[in-house]
Symmetry: C2
Subunit: 385 residues, 2 copies
């Protein structure tokens, strides 16, 4: 397989962008990525998006975004797996370039969630779960995660406060990310007193929605060997795995089988062990998801994700720093864009351009994007060349 | 690039499937394709779908369908470009296999459109057009095509009845397709007297919606060289091109630039001229679209698509038979599935398995799937090995 590299990245701040249409958000991220790559054109553009058809009354984003950014005519399409849509844009760009079908491609994730009523947005988000077994009962996404978290606490004996470090770490790191929706630290006290949403998930366990877009330009690695300018970052591992949409249908609702499978495949491709990962952009849609991902990816024993956090190993100086730019919790979670924000942040770290958020000596970074409550998991391992 | 072949196909009849959920329709097509390929498992599954999030309250179809067909865990995602979503599933499967990332993949197109109210379905379809410039005015898809057809008639001096052969041919061919929604011929009189929908488009100019699913299994061509059993069909050309979503924004609203571009690229890949195509599965969502596609693909002069039809060249014994299994008009147009129906029908013809619809000596077939009013066009050229 043709080795593929990321040569440009771009993003817009996650916010309530009421002054920008969806296509403008995507365009701004694309223009930034092209400028960063010192390119004006690519052969194909893949858009990761979940809800534009429902919330913006606009499907068909591939052609729309291509035209908007001045590349009318190029190959384009939308890819979707709920909140995992963003990383799938990169995955598709990788396949397109690796196949030799195109020699340059843009992956852009975009979502606009704050122009609609909370009810509409919540209903659209619920389409990520099984309509027949979960949605039909009116269970929201936070409700589903609350059921998982409650069971996890019961099974492994954790208290709610044991999940605090995930949130505290994310917000501490968000302070250093100018594109984060929230850039203020929180304390254990704030975590504890936060408004309950769906017991045991409170406001500090849950990531905020938002409007946003993030993009990356990929090309064959050979093409940019010894390139001057921005550092070339290689895609050393890329894997997608799936699971049942409905949580009750899994052998163990407290184990992210798809996260384990896609991480193992990515480790194999990259030829590394989990210990060699310098930092991990974990999909912390909810604190419970951070715990489950860390376990599935081999960083913690089963049921012991919160221990890793309580021991400080997920913080910047720990063994496996996570959510180094704020994660979904502080950067924000514009669902179809999130996977691409994770990629952009991973590249910033590997280039040494993460500013005050920089992880010293970061050479290998992992990003894991999760669709639904673990039904689609995309893992990417990136390496500084 | 790794050469890729189709080794299995499957479909369900296009109908009002009120007794089947979307995942069951997709599953039935997948099971048929697997049986036809004599396989029980593939590495990845790509779903072409446009409207499940809006109409079925179900996004995230990749994982859902994979699980339903007994392949929980494999790579999966949804791809979308409005009514062009189906062919994009094949395009994505091709890229995945050609890149070497997977060695077998399923492409399945699926749509369920008749369980919702006509108003809901029409509104969902309108998201294929530009929400900002077209949808906002309340123009439906048939309305947009009516504007194009009216202008075309004015510009090139055609009468409404000149478009009759497209519809008559499609329905004549639909008689020979047991999976077609309509299997009865129509006369010039029926065409003329059909209910007006959006002047000049009447009921016989417009394709019917429907519920349906169609699928294909693809693998590297090398892997199945000299294979016993079903004939191997090669993907000789595959190309995607785009245009502006909004029709008014095109230099010439009567020319399908993206259709021309993707067809030319596909001819180049296949190393053939238009004259060498034995039959053409054209995207006849409306009779005007058939005319425009035939012109853009080089089968007729600009503005002369209806002449080709009036001279009988689009019929089974003509120079370029189109909609040989009924097309969108008679087979039906379950939008996200349509592109895969076209592929399945092309394979049937090339294998000589099209029954009474068989085009004698068909060796090279072309299928063109159009998203929106020409904003995304996917052209595939298939060859009997």
């Amino acid at each position: 397989m043709q080795e593929v590299a990321i040569i440009g990245i771009g993003q817009v701040p996650v916010a309530e962008h009421w002054d920008k249409r969806l296509v403008e958000l995507a365009g701004d991220a694309v223009f930034a990525a092209l400028a960063d790559a010192e390119l004006s054109q690519v052969d194909a553009l893949y858009v990761g998006n979940m809800m534009a058809g429902q919330l913006d009354k606009q499907s068909h984003l591939g052609a729309l975004v291509s035209d908007w950014v001045g590349m009318r005519g190029i190959e384009a399409m939308t890819v979707e797996a709920a909140c995992g849509s963003g990383a799938l844009a990169l995955r598709t760009a990788l396949m397109a370039v690796a196949s030799g079908i195109v020699t340059s491609a843009l992956a852009v994730g975009v979502e606009k969630m704050t122009d609609t009523s909370p009810g509409e947005t919540t209903a659209a988000l619920a389409t990520a779960a099984s309509a027949d077994w979960e949605g039909i009962h009116g269970v929201t996404f936070v409700g589903l995660n609350a059921l998982i978290m409650r069971r996890y606490m019961y099974e492994y004996g954790w208290q709610h406060e044991d999940f605090a470090p995930f949130s505290i770490n994310a917000h501490a790191n968000g302070v250093n990310n100018p594109n984060a929706r929230f850039q203020a630290p929180i304390t254990a006290e704030i975590y504890k007193r936060a408004t309950m949403i769906a017991d045991p998930i409170n406001l500090m366990d849950a990531s905020p929605i938002g409007d946003g877009a993030a993009a990356a330009v990929v090309v064959p690695a050979d093409l940019v060997k010894g390139r001057k300018g921005k550092q070339v970052i290689k895609i050393a591992g890329s894997a997608v795995a799936t699971d049942s949409l409905a949580v009750h249908d899994r052998q163990d609702p407290l184990w992210l089988t798809a996260a384990e499978k896609s991480a193992k495949e990515a480790y194999l491709q990259a030829g590394i062990k989990p210990e060699e990962i310098d930092f991990f952009e974990v999909h912390d849609a909810f604190t419970i998801m951070s715990a489950l991902s860390l376990e599935a990816c081999g960083f913690a024993e089963r049921g012991q994700g919160p221990r890793l956090a309580l021991e400080g190993e997920i913080f910047t100086q720990g063994k496996i720093p996570v959510t180094t730019m704020g994660g979904l919790k502080a950067r924000g979670h514009p669902v179809g864009a999130t996977g691409m924000y994770q990629i952009v942040e991973t590249v910033l770290q590997l280039r040494g351009e993460a500013g005050p958020a920089q992880i010293d000596g970061a050479k290998i970074g992992m990003a894991q994007n999760i669709g639904g409550s673990g039904a689609t998991v995309i893992t990417h391992i990136l390496k500084a060349d």
